[in-house]
Amino acid sequence: MALLRRLALPLIVSGVGLVLAVWVGTQELDSIEQRQLSGATLLEKIVEHLELAAAASVVVVVLAVSLGIVLTRPGTRRVAPAVIAVANVGQATPSIGFLVVGAIVAGIGFDRVLLALVAYSALPVLRNTMVGLQQVDRSLIEAARGLGMSPTATLLRVELPLSVPVILAGVRTALVVNVGTATLATFVDGGGLGDTINSGIRLGRDTVLVTGAVLTAMMALLLDWVARGAEDLLRPRGL
């Protein structure tokens, strides 16, 4: 029963994929649609999209978690509100604006898209890292230090393990945000499923548009599901 519940989401997503494939198969496809919806093209777009989202997520985790750790250390706690404010601006700015301004300033391509995605999805990870570390019971840190654990050992063996669930929740949010936002990469020549969706819109081919959109949603749901699995595995026992 638990296994079934656990596998419910991928089963549903596969079902949706099957329905999509059957639906596309029943359509009369013209040459443009056939090119856009060919297996090779779609696979290429999916891989591009995954690369973008994954790269952005990895960069975000590395940057935002380290920043979150630094900002919760005793010496730097005072600057934390300022950094959070900057991260808030990053998230509040429309992501398309980021992309376009980024493209104007720095040019187009994968790296620029990556930059925009990182700026946009850093906040949930940063905030959850800080909240996660701050909610660790002070008396545990007191006990750890009192027993002679160094500040680094206290961080690695007590503070971080106890914040893992909160931090991973932030990472999941960032992952989903990144998959969604990566569709905008098409506007600065970044590739991905955004290309498929955008051609569908521009060329007035709804089949292409729907296929791109549904594939993006499926990817977001599946990645979230994988991340939830990772969360269960990484959550410390005993909590």
Partner: protein, 405 residues
């Protein structure tokens, strides 16, 4: 060292203080009044010193200064002859067990991992850590096989604090710092944990600095008590008996509160009392023999015991004359019994709860080994008071013989 010698001239071996504070001052940023001002205190090796005082008086600050969780603004702290300001704080702390009121067990680690925290940092092998954990769990009264692999949330408050104590003892540190260790458990469990720590301490002879706000706990646990007022000012640093019978200031006597004499009763054991004169005879003794024994002893009554020596009843001469054929019914049942290791508070309680006004001292098998009465308790209180006044002038010896267990 001269001042050390002056402090305890009666001691048999020269006592080097395991912990010494000299003129220590600590002010927290943003606070006008320092939390601790010009504090000086010596804790002798192998002794339990209790810091007791109202909340906010600087007790916890003092502990945290000693293991350098905070640094003093002024003054010197010397542990085992070394100035701690020169020591590497983490290494220093591994030489001192630390127990806090919130217990602070790591929730994501098993009992075994919690206990082995310090040994792991010291680089002990896994096998040695496991062995040590089992040994310590047994020491604090937890069955190793049942508790080793549990997580803290699966333990009761009392069990958690036992693990906390085991964790503090893991690397066998010579010094234990305990900050209200039993503050978060219910009174029954607290009493038991106190007793266990006392018996543990009789074996381990650690230097313990114990913080509490409860004067009863201080009297029970301490070889010496430092009564603290705000700002870490020590109003009196003396044995429990001295603090109770000779408070050094208005503050101390108010802090000790009413009933200081009753509290002092818990410092003396039944075994230390002068036994009362009392004829003890078998239940089946001839009335004439009982009468003769009472007359010879010059007492009002005699204690009758059964064939294995267990106390049964008290009889007076009048009762013997009136109802010598029905002794069992006429006499007062000798129900009030105490052991040699019981304290006088309990003995007094037992005495006043029966008409006889006396208690029978029994051994482990329940056989009578003597009788104590109210006069003996009063005499003990008197001697405690005069003894404390003598020791207050210089000799600092705890006025009670250790209980043999």
């Amino acid at each position: 060292m001269a001042s050390v010698a002056e402090r305890a001239p009666g001691a048999r071996r020269p006592r080097v203080p395991a912990i010494r504070l000299e003129g220590v001052t600590k002010a927290y940023t943003g606070q006008v009044e320092p939390a601790v001002r010009d504090l000086s205190l010596d804790v002798a090796e192998g002794e339990t010193a209790v810091l007791v005082g109202p909340s906010g008086c600087g007790k916890t600050t003092t502990l945290r200064l000693i293991n350098r969780l905070i640094t003093p603004d002024e003054g010197r702290i010397v542990v085992d002859g070394d100035d701690v300001s020169g020591a590497e704080p983490d290494a220093l702390r591994r030489r001192m067990g630390y127990v806090i009121q919130q217990i602070g067990l790591f929730p994501h680690m098993t009992v075994q991992e919690n206990v082995a925290t310090v040994p792991r940092m010291l680089g002990w092998s896994k096998a040695r850590r496991g062995e040590r954990t089992d040994e310590l769990l047994a020491t604090v009264g937890l069955e190793p096989s049942a508790f080793r692999d549990r997580f803290p949330r699966e333990l009761s408050g009392g069990q958690q604090q036992r693990v906390g104590v085991a964790r503090a003892l893991a690397a066998d540190p010579p010094i234990l710092l305990m900050d209200e260790p039993f503050g978060s458990v219910d009174p029954v469990v607290r009493e038991r944990l106190q007793d266990e720590l006392l018996s543990l301490q009789r074996r381990l002879r650690k230097t313990i600095l114990f913080v509490t706000h409860d004067i009863d706990e201080a009297v029970k646990m301490g070889d010496r008590i430092a009564v603290m007022d705000h700002g870490g000012r020590i109003e009196q640093y003396a044995t429990p008996a001295q603090v109770l019978s000779r408070p050094a200031s208005q503050f101390v006597s108010e802090f000790v509160g009413p009933g200081a004499t009753l509290k002092a009763l818990s410092l003396t054991r039944v075994g230390d009392l002068e036994p009362a004169e009392c004829p003890v005879l078998g239940l089946s003794s001839d009335p004439a023999a009982i009468r003769a024994a009472i007359r010879r002893a010059g007492t009002e009554d005699a204690l009758l015991v059964d064939d294995v020596g267990r106390p049964r009843c008290w009889v007076t001469v009048e009762e013997l004359e009136r109802r010598f054929d029905a002794l069992g019914e006429a006499a007062i049942a000798a129900e009030a019994t105490v052991r040699r290791s019981d304290d006088l508070r309990l003995a007094l309680e037992r005495m006043v709860s029966t008409r006889a006004g006396k208690a029978v001292v029994v051994d482990d098998a329940g056989a009578c080994i003597g009788v104590v009465e109210l006069a003996g308790v009063i005499a003990a209180v008197e001697s405690l008071r005069s003894h404390a006044s003598v020791t207050a002038r210089g000799r600092e010896v705890r006025p009670l013989s250790p209980v043999s267990d």
